[in-house]
């Protein structure tokens, strides 16, 4: 019987299947960070359990780490305790850890792919909703809560309710200036924050195939913002070229064997999705959010909606609340919205290609005097690469701040936060109320739009800066 990509990966990981019970799935890779793990390690200690497979587990420090200094102790005592707790737990249970400032430290969803640990066909979990990122390789990857983190640490398995599948096809080539982030925001605006609920999304079609691995990661990363269980792209030559030679990628004969298997990881001809959504790439344009959930977005050429014209009463009320919080008048042209902060970084857009895109716009230009711009690489390796390419100088010469690796202003658990009433254009993933700091207002954008906005001081695409 023809199967979807997601079904194939699922089937290959069933440890135990019983009538009336969820399947027990084996987990190939468990990513751990400091925020959602301390209570899980405590649970193991209380029950006298060990970590079953420390060799399939990897930890990093990312959410709390300050990005403006290295090596010194974290100033916030509560953040410091959380990071130190992770260090103690990893030492006690034998879990490898990339500490703040180390060569391979960084955001958990940036270092997995960078190390070659993220591979096609794997099951990957992490106590973080953006684990969907790893689906870019054709892995089945999803975010879990702390109880499940403990479950995976103890057993290397998870009991999972069955999922539905949704095919999202983007036909045709992407127009000039349209990035993976714009595709992601357009998909979420189309299906809504609950549209993917219970589904694994598979992104397909020419526009998706044309994306680099980093673009596919951005797209899959945002799947959770549509409420999806996971997002996936079938592996292909682009995937193999990215992986080959990375530290944990197979080599020699094992590489050939792996590729032969990976070639089978695609949705069979004749397999059906529970739901299918099609987007015509020609209809896509640089996209920006105007509200307080990621589905409240529109093309940058558009305007803030008029809630009175929204038919669904729940959506209308949500739009009214969002505009009040965002302090935006209905009908305002999005290009007229002034920002005071620009953030480039996060597990969504903190990779080297994202930094190149932003630097490409900023080169020879200046960040507006009214704007503070933060550029935070997703990992120390991305930072080193950017510095080798001279991107750091482009940023600093334009007047932006160049930082160390971490989650930073995406969620403001470290000192990088928006102040009350401040407004950002941000390459991160969530425009929720207060996400980047209490009272802060967020517009989600791509790296290129972020950089153009930093120059103009208002939401702008790179083409708006010309002439």
């Amino acid at each position: 019987m023809p199967r979807t990509l997601a079904q194939k990966v699922w089937d290959e990981h069933v440890v135990r299947s019983a009538e009336g019970e969820p399947d027990l799935l084996y987990i190939d890779l468990h990513l751990v960070h400091e925020v959602t793990s301390p209570q899980a390690f405590d649970g193991l200690r209380l029950a006298g359990r060990r970590v079953r497979r420390p060799d399939l587990t990897i930890a990093t420090e990312d959410h709390n780490v300050p990005t403006d200094l290295l090596g010194g102790p974290i100033a916030d005592p509560v953040s410091r305790e959380q990071v130190e707790t992770l260090r103690k737990n990893c030492a006690e249970f034998g879990v490898p850890l990339h500490r703040m400032g180390a060569e391979q430290q960084g955001i958990v969803h940036v270092i997995g792919p960078q190390l070659g640990l993220t591979q096609p066909g794997l099951t990957i979990v992490c106590g973080d909703s953006h684990t969907s990122t790893h689906g870019a390789f054709g892995a089945l990857a999803w975010g879990i809560g702390t109880s499940q983190v403990e479950h995976v640490l103890a057993s290397q398995t998870l009991a999972q309710e069955p999922f539905k599948t949704m095919g999202i096809t983007v036909d045709g080539p992407l127009p000039e200036g349209v990035t993976a982030k714009d595709v992601a925001l357009a998909v979420i605006a189309r299906i809504g924050t609950g549209g993917g609920r219970g589904h694994v999304l598979e992104y397909r079609g020419e526009a998706v195939r044309s994306l680099t691995m980093e673009g596919r990661m951005t797209l899959c990363n945002m799947s959770i913002e549509a409420g999806a269980r996971a997002g996936m792209v079938a592996p292909d030559a682009t995937t193999y070229a990215y992986l080959q030679g990375r530290p944990h990628a197979p080599a020699g004969r094992l590489w050939d064997d792996a590729v032969a298997h990976w070639e089978s990881l695609r949705t069979d001809e004749g397999a059906t999705f529970d739901r299918e959504v099609r987007l015509d790439s020609a209809s896509l344009a640089p996209f920006v959010t105007w509200g307080t959930n990621p589905a409240q977005g529109a093309p940058l050429t558009g305007s803030v909606p008029r809630p009175s014209e929204i038919e669904d009463p729940v959506d209308r009320q949500a739009a009214e609340r969002a505009l009040a919080y965002m302090d935006l008048a209905p009908g305002t042209a999005l290009r007229d919205v002034a920002v005071d902060t620009v953030f480039v970084g996060s597990c969504t857009n903190g990779r080297i290609e994202d930094l190149r895109a932003a630097a490409g716009v900023l080169g020879g230009r200046r960040v507006s005097d009214r704007v503070r711009m933060l550029v935070v690489p997703g990992s120390m390796a991305v930072k080193a690469q950017a510095e080798a390419e001279g991107l750091d100088r482009v940023f600093t010469e334009a007047g932006a701040e160049w930082r160390s690796a971490g989650c930073s202003m995406c969620l403001g658990m470290n000192p990088d936060q928006l102040g009350r009433g401040e407004r950002s254009a941000s390459t991160s993933n969530r425009n929720f109320e207060g996400r980047q700091g209490p009272g802060g207002r967020t517009h989600l954008v791509s790296p290129a739009v972020a950089a153009a906005t930093a120059v103009s001081g208002r939401l702008a695409a790179p083409t708006d800066l010309e002439g």
């Binding site: 890779l29 509560v78 975010g143 094992l254 658990m413």
Partner: protein
Amino acid sequence: MEPFTTHTGRMVPLRYSNVDTDQIIPAVYLKRVTRTGFADGLFSAWRSQPDFVLDRPQHAGATVLVAGPDFGTGSSREHAVWALQDHGFRVVVAPRFGDIFRGNAHKGGLLTVEAEQEVVESLWELAESDPGAELTVDLEACELRVGERTVPFTVDGHTRWRLLEGLDDISLTLGHADAVAAYEAGRHPWLPRTVEVPG
């Protein structure tokens, strides 16, 4: 986990949709390393505003939260469940929940009940007009009872059984250790390991 069979309590009507877990508990409260003590972070941004529904005296001690669609979207933070429980909630009723939140809730014994928007609206109206009105959530019969009205709801059978019995998932799984070991023996040889770089 404490078993959940039937609960009767007063309601808090939260007339918002898309209540993401950042609203339920902002990131700044996630720095703690304990499993309890999160009640002060619950809806903290909204509670800093005057007259937020949770703080109205007529709803003090209510144990059932009734919210709009897409409750618990966003971040996977289980702290959202802990904060709701620490505040005293045993049940959340909404038309739709974020998947990860719903899973987390059921791990910890907080019941999520999916109800039609129309049911939610009627519960909102009742809680507002008669804050003393009680809702009964019966997991054995899978029904909500309020006044004369009975509304059935569905929960998957396995989750229902686990909640009714108060079972610990990890103990259940470790009972299948042989199946896990058998699976492990057949894994592909090229699969990555984190502590060992292949030569």
